[in-house]
Symmetry: C2
Subunit: 118 residues, 2 copies
């Protein structure tokens, strides 16, 4: 079994967008079927419109963001649950002066990320 503290997991800055970092909480070396990551988007930051070849299951831990996914735009807040199907273009833009922090779980399998023109 594995027991680790969120705060001890290395934070890796991400190239796409602004103010985005990722922590690998449970990797596919730790677990056989799906990976648990945590993304932080600093206040004033964003993740641009993109698609993934795998679906996302997300749980918002803190902060707020304007999320676009498919043809929907909405505000997401701490305690919200999001499911983004494989192949659906989506983006995030923080709201307010707090970082937007969310768990994002993906199944095993190659994840090809493609940016979508704005």
């Amino acid at each position: 079994m594995i027991h680790r503290k969120h705060s001890t997991v290395e934070s890796m800055p991400q190239k796409a967008g602004r103010g985005v970092s990722m922590q690998m909480l449970l990797s596919l070396q730790d677990a056989p079927n799906f990976a648990m990551r945590c993304f932080t988007i600093d206040a004033g930051g964003f993740m641009p419109h993109h698609t993934n070849t795998v679906e996302h299951e997300q749980y918002v831990l803190s902060g707020s963001a304007r999320v676009k996914s498919g043809d929907q735009t909405f505000e997401a807040h701490a305690g919200d649950i999001l499911f983004i199907p494989a192949g659906e273009a989506h983006s995030y833009e923080t709201i307010g002066d707090e970082a937007y922090v969310f768990l994002c779980l993906i199944p095993k399998g190659e994840d090809c990320i493609e940016m979508v023109g704005c």
Copy 2:
């Protein structure tokens, strides 16, 4: 895509243990590969020693518990990450006067639950 609020998801009391309830945040009807559940164990409650045929990926949202898994016993707190392999016996007992609330994700596939003699 799916966007829902944690607080709006029905809470289902569980038979095993004491003070245990479960919310199905993302079911295998919502998502193809793994399900996101949230378990709440009320203060003073417990979940008895048991095994599952599927692994667990867990994120503790609030509260504290004494967790036994395999040959380890430890305290888990908000912000902790746990991976419990398929087939490993485990149990939870709350600590203090706060409910222990944790996300618990499982892959698709039949989950046979077996109680383990204390």
